[in-house]
Structure formats: structure tokens, C-alpha cells
Amino acid sequence: MSRAPRWLARTGPTACHPPRSERCDRGPWGDGRLPSPDPTAGWTLTLSSDGARTTTRRHDSLTTLSSGDLGVRGDHEGGDDPGRLVLVAGAFGTSTDGLVRPLPGPGWTDLGPHGPPAGGRRLLDMRDGTLWREAPEEGLRSFRFVSLAHPGIAVLRAEDDRRGESWPAALEAPAPSPLAAEQTFHAGPDGEGRWAETVGDRATITASARQWSRTTPDHRRVERLAAFRAGEGSQPDRAAELLSTACATGFDELLREHRRAWARRWAGADIEIVGDPAAQLAARFALFHLLSCAPTHGEATVGARGLTGLAYAGHVFWDTDVFVLPALAAILPDAARAVVEYRIRRLPAARARAEGRGRRGALFPWESADTGADVTPGSMRDSEGNRVPVLHGDQAMHINADVAWSALHYIQWTGDAALMDAGGGRLVLETARHWADLIRRDDQGRGHIDDVIGPDEYHERVDDNAYTNNMARWHLRQAATLARQAGDPEEASTFEDLAASLIDGFDPVTGRHEEFAGFDALEPMLIAEIAEPPIAADLLLGRARLAHTQVVKQPDVLMLHHLLPTDVPPGSRTADLDHYLPRTAHGSSLSPAICASLLARSGRPDEAMALFDLAARMDLDDLTGTTAAGLHVATMGGLWQAIVHGFAGIRPTADRLEIDPHLPSRWEALHLRVHFRGQRVAITIEPRLITVDAADPVPLVIEGEPTWGPVQIARTEGSRRP
């Protein structure tokens, strides 16, 4: 059913304003020519397909364009592409299965004809965030971008050889999907343009679009502009206003502004890996999607697949806090701030959740969407088809410490201490209060955290998970500092006392940590005895069997070394790596990059490369079999961390930037750029030289020696590079 925009409901001659889209009365749009592709090596992802189902939707994911507010998959403009999808950050709805899922926006890329998508070639230019496509069977060539300079605006130009036919309407209903929120679709003319909206029970996405076409003796061309807005209700005026601005700007200027915006982002984020083209492409691919996964204003709802697909229901996990944010804090600080802001604004919901469980403080949910309420599925099917409860919602307590860590890590990179007064302080304090209420003291006064799930999800309902306890201890100590600064020494003392009491799982005899109480008594199975990792060991062996073994899913104790490298006993990293790595199935796509990072930092960079390559190729080679449903944004964040924290050994501290590289023999040099304390820093690591360049002095610690940049330092004798 078509419903007219609300502004048309007004009566009276003076109330009938002309549609805003009609203000797009600009002059001739030039010849509508498509910009030429620029297949520069290392910057372009070229994908060819014969139109088969197995490749089309996967390529749609890989070539998603996003501004952090608006995401558009790289679908086929011709043909009925079921992978066609538009997402707006933060727009959710309830689906038929009762789960909160992303609300798809109106489609805007249909250029006809209808039928199975044909094959062709796509070029994703990652340097300027544009997608060029050629489909010879359809005779279609297209070019599109999602504007970074004008959030919410998408632009498309296309040409084909089918003269005499009219182009389809600029906006259409989204492709049906069981992974999307339920929605109704409305559309209609808006002067010379078109409006449409998808209406869910929690949000509405409104779109306004206009297109121009021209037919020449050789071909016909079309240019289409679409504007998207999302909110609790319909926003036709705002969408039309956005479109009007874009129309007035015009294609050429929109593209120039977009390219300039991308150039600015790359100037503070690029990574160049010399001597390893495959790693170079993977690094830039990861950076491209990281740089466009979150807006740089307001709040950022970064789901597990970002805006590239519907998998994982768009829910926000710890993935965002400890895998994505560390990259954003260094390469796009404003986006990282928006990620933290998302958590700050959901503190009331976290507070309510803790209260509902009879606890003080605030408790963030394992899975979060728009409101901050817990949207973790209550059950799932096991490998025998039985419906079993999902315990994460109740037991994955470490999320609280992850959120706090994320906020403080942002400050370490940016120096943005103002965050603490803008909600960051409350975030750290209130989540710490939950730990204070949760910790059980035994007769000897030792602190325990019982009945939890750590990062290793093969083992549930465990006590004194080393990761959870140590993160909680660190968290309480940070909160103690804040409490003391806030003039509450009593609470500060309580936090410090509890922190000191917590069992940390470290055994000075073995020099390593026990993952949880009783882990060492489990069947000492190594993953190689089951299968070659990575492997979903829970599917292979069954969860019940696996829970009795020492096989772990992903870094748990090792995650501690990754996030809190200076809060663990000296020397324990090697002991823990040697103990837990052979037991790690890497059944999580988050796992390989972190392990690669730790191996690199431990002076084993060449050994790290197999795991690095897994992370690098996760989506490019569709290693999970699910890339078609969205890209693994957290894996990309992990990959960045492997390069920067692992191989480059770069880490921000309270007042300096530490650099302690371990380059693999495959890499001749590594150039990277980060933002540190408000300025861009360029770092080059070569076998015998470390160069740090910055506009202003930057405090450094290079291979253990304090110094100031800009600087060029010869690497230590017996350089770390093997």
C-alpha cells in the first residue's frame, strides 16, 4: 500500500509546498559518463564471477560500500540479486523468530532487467571507496559510491546498450530475507523523484531518490541519487532535504568531496607491507572496511558484521570493544569515540539489567542492539538437533571489563581525558561496582568469580576464569583510582581490597595460568589429536565431550596477555603460549589474529604467519563459508592488531608510544600510520632501521629505550628480525 509523505496531508493552497526533491533543478548533468576504474595494485580488489549463486552474494559482501551510517552491499544492478541490501546503523526491528534484527532499507540499485544475476567483473577501489562493475552479458557498466562527505547519500551512474527501454523506479522494496527484521514497505512519487520507506516495529528507514537518464545512439545512461534517514518514525522531509543538498552539489563535486574524505582517512591509517603483496591487499581490505564501519559523530552501533550483512543479527558483542575499537582508536579516533559513546548511552540499560539480577552497578549484556537490552538468543540447536539454552547472556561476565578496557584504551591512544567527565568515568565505575557485588570471598578472604563463561566458550559454568578474574582485577584498580579522584576513598579501598583478593590462576611453579579452576585436571587433549586447526571442535566432538577436555576455542588466558601485557607476571606469556596454543582449536574467527600477534611479540614472527594468513584471508577466501552474510569486521580489527601490536610492536601507554618490532622474514619493510595524542605519526620499520615521523614531538619508547620522535634509530644488535 502506498502512503503519501506526511507533508502532503496538509490542506490549503499555502500549505502545499513543492516537493523538496523538485528543488534538484540543476542544469545538465554533463554527459553522465562513468569515471574510469583505476586498478592500482594493492588498492583494488578485482572480482570476477560467472553469476553462480556461490559467488554472487559473497562478492556482494566483499564490495560493500559504507560511510558508517549507511551501508550498501555491492549487489548486481541488473537481475534479481537476493543479496541486495541497504542498512542504516542503529535501525533494528523484531523478526518473525522474535529476535531483534537489522531493519533493511529500501533498495535503490535495481536497473533491470529481471532474472538471475549475470556474471561480470567488479573493481572495488579501496583508495577512494568506489565500486565499478561491468556485466558484459547484460551490457551494463556501473559506478557507485556511498558518500563519506555527505553521510546518508548514495550515488550511482550506469550505462548499457538497451536503448528504448525505461529504467526501473529509483527505489524498491528490500529483498526478502529470514535474517532481516519484519517490515512493511511504502513508496510513491515525490515530484520528479521518489520516496520510500521500510517500517519496522522499532525504526523506520526513509529514502528519497531522484534519477536522470539520457539515451545516445550508442547507449543509454542513468544517474541516481538516493538519501537515507532512519529513526523511530518516518522522516520524508529530512531525507528529501538531504537529497536536495546532494542534488545541488552534483555528481562531480560529490565524488571529489568523497575522494578527499577518503584520502584524509588513509593519510592517518594506511599500512604498507613491502615484499608481501597478498598481505598488503589483505591489510588494505581490512583497513577499508574498518575505516567505514562506524560513523565519526554521535554513537556507533557496530555489529559483528558491521553494515555488510545480516548475519549475527547486527548485534554488538565484545568484538566491537576489544577487536574493532583498538584499531579505530589509532586510525579514526572520532569513530572510536562514537563506539564508546554507544556504551555510555546504554549505561542506564546496563544499570537496569544489574538491578534486575539483584546486583549493584551496571552489567552490559553479551549481545546488544538499539536499546541496550539483552538480545542474546535464549536457545539454540546443538549438533544433535536438540534445543539447548544459550548461557552467554547469564555467564559471559567479562563483557563488563571489556567495555571498560575499551574506553580506557581509547584514552591511551587519543589522550582524550575529557571522556571521563563525559560519561566514561561513570562507565568504568558503575561496571566495576557490579564486580564488587559479584565477587565471593571465601574463608581465607580470597576472591572468586563463580559460574562464568570466559572467551573460551567450549567450557561453560566455570569458576575463577583467569581472563575474567584478571580483567576484573585490573578493572577494579582503575575504578579505585577514579573513586579516589571523585573523593570516595572508602569505595576506592573496597575496590583495591577486592582486586588484591581475586584468584588470578597463576601458578609460580609452572610459570603459567590455569584457565579456570580445575582446567588442569581435564583430559589433556591437544587439538592436533582431533583435527588440523582451525576447526569447529564443538561440532566435531560435541559440546559435552569437549567440555571434559583441555581443548580451547580461542585465546582465553592468551587474551589476557594481549589486552593487559603489563599486568601479567613476567615471563608468563611464553609459558602460556606454549601451553595453550597447541590446545587452541581456533574455532572462532577472532582467534588466529590474536595468536599471531602474541607469537610475533614473543619473537616468533615467522611462526605467526600461518595464523596471520588465516585472519587475512578470512573473508577474501570465505574461510567460514558465511562471508555472503556479512564480513567479519572484528577479524579485520584483529588483523590490524596483529600487524600493529604484534609485528610492529606498537602499543600506547599512559604517556608514550612503545615500539618494539618483530618483522617476519616475508616482509622487507612495514610502513604504517596512526593517530597518537591528536597527531598523525608515521612509522617505518625496516630490518635495521626504525623511523618515526610526526609534525610535533611525540614521546616514544623504542625497543625499550625512551626517546622522542621524530627520530630514526638503528635497530638493536642481533635485530629481532630472524
Binding site: S177, A304, S379, M380, G385, V390, L539, G542, T626
Partner: protein, 257 residues
């Protein structure tokens, strides 16, 4: 109109063969014809066919040669044969049935002697094990589309074994949904096809799920190769299934479907 050819012998095992032929013929809007090679009598066969209202053709000669000859008619889309003539426990498929399924290029419906019989046989639910490969998905696509259009419920199954278990399985509740959605999109005609994901040995798991889901028929794509090390699922289904098994060649010949 295509023909479902039911090759019946003169034993009690002929009854479920006829009923299976009528059930699938009804679903596919195909005519059902019975075919009997008279070796030691025809009374049971012809009597069953007459009572079922199915025309029967009786010939003399080598049973296998005659069945293959009759099946070669381009109008024949499915050949229905009995797995064996005796019920007594799991046993390999009989030599004629085996030769028929290995040598005819048509779809073959193999009916165990203990398959249910019904005066008004109908197909409600069909189980389709899929390994996630282009050739097997293509082999089952057209027949299942026609069954689905006739209102038969299609239930897909994918079994994770050591060779096919995913490398990554992040959050199981979401991973299952995402994997299933992608699997259906790649290998099922309809994106809404119900899909069961199980872990185990594929032969045993297929039979377990068939029983648990109370299906009327198991449809398997196969390469017509039962040599050692090949066709484990087909072999197990032919030996142990208590419902008819529809074998769809990945490389059909004279396929009338």
C-alpha cells in the same frame, strides 16, 4: 505425460513397490505403470496391480534385461524397484535392484519390503541429504521442485563429519542460522527450505534423521558408483532404510524428468 514404471515381482514385496510408485506418481502427475517379468508366476503381481488400478505389462525373459529395456523408454522418468524380496533385517539390495540402479541412467526409487503400504498412498515429506556440492545440488533440484510444487514438504539435511565440519563456528546460535541460511541459498532451490544440521557419520545420521522426522522418502543424488569407498550414504540407505529411497543420478541419461 511421463511414466513412473514400477517393476514388481510376484512376492509380497511388490505391494510397497506399487504403493511407492503411486505415491510419487501422484505427486508428479505422472502415469503409473506396472511391469512384471514372468519367471515363476504372475498372479500376485497382476492381482496387486489390478486391485491398485495400475495397468500392468507382463513379459517373459531375463528380468534385468527386460527391466532395463522398459526403463529406456524416453517417457519413463522414474523406475521403481524393490530393494529385496525379503524383509528379514538389514540386508544389501538385491542383485537385480543393484544392477538396475547402476545401469539405468534414470531416477530409481528403491523400495524396501517393509516400507509402509496404504490404500491411498501419498507423499507428505521427503528428506534430502545434501553434502554441499554443485553436481549433487543440481541432480536433486528439478525433481524436488516438482514435488514441492505438488505440496510435498522438502526437508534438507547436511551432516558435519570430519571432512565437512566448518573450520569456524563463532557464536553457535548465530553461526547455525548464518550457516543454514547460506547453505540453503547455495544448494536449495527454495531459500525457505527447512534445513537440519547434524554432526556424525553421514550414513547413520541420514537414517536417524529420516526416522526422527518421520519422512516418507529419502532423495539422494549419487554418482551411480557403489564400488569400495564410494556411495556410503546410498549403500546404507539401501540396506537399512525403512522408507523408499529415490536415487537421482548426477549424470542422468535419457532423463525424462
Amino acid at each position: 505425460m511421463s511414466i513412473v514404471l514400477a517393476a514388481i515381482d510376484d512376492s509380497a514385496a511388490a505391494a510397497p513397490v506399487l504403493d511407492a510408485a503411486r505415491a510419487i506418481g501422484g505427486a508428479l502427475h505422472a502415469s503409473v505403470q506396472a511391469f512384471h517379468v514372468d519367471e515363476e508366476g504372475q498372479a500376485t503381481a497382476t492381482g496387486l496391480a489390478d486391485r491398485a488400478g495400475v495397468p500392468v505389462r507382463v513379459v517373459r525373459g531375463d528380468p534385468l534385461a527386460e527391466i532395463l529395456e522398459a526403463a529406456s523408454d524416453p517417457a519413463v522418468s522414474i523406475v521403481v524397484v524393490g530393494a529385496r524380496d525379503q524383509i528379514a533385517g538389514p540386508r544389501p539390495v538385491g542383485h537385480i535392484a543393484r544392477a538396475a540402479i547402476e545401469r539405468t541412467g534414470k531416477a530409481v526409487l528403491v523400495v524396501p519390503p517393509d516400507a509402509p503400504t496404504d490404500s491411498a498412498p501419498a507423499l507428505r515429506r521427503v528428506l534430502v541429504p545434501l553434502e554441499g556440492a554443485q553436481d549433487t545440488a543440481e541432480a536433486v533440484a528439478a525433481p524436488l521442485r516438482r514435488l514441492s510444487q505438488a505440496g510435498v514438504e522438502i526437508l534438507a539435511l547436511h551432516v558435519f563429519d570430519a571432512e565437512h565440519v566448518p573450520r569456524f563456528w563463532d557464536q553457535p546460535a548465530h553461526a547455525e542460522q548464518g550457516f543454514a541460511s547460506e547453505f540453503r541459498a547455495r544448494w536449495c532451490e527454495e531459500p525457505t527450505t527447512p534445513l537440519r544440521l547434524r554432526t556424525g557419520s553421514p550414513p547413520g545420521t541420514v537414517l536417524d534423521v529420516a526416522a526422527a522426522e518421520d519422512v516418507d522418502l529419502i532423495a539422494l543424488a549419487w554418482s551411480q558408483d557403489l564400488s569400495a569407498g564410494r556411495g556410503a550414504v546410498v549403500r546404507a540407505a539401501l540396506t537399512d532404510a525403512h522408507v523408499p529411497v529415490l536415487l537421482l543420478p548426477t549424470d542422468p541419461r535419457d532423463d525424462g524428468t
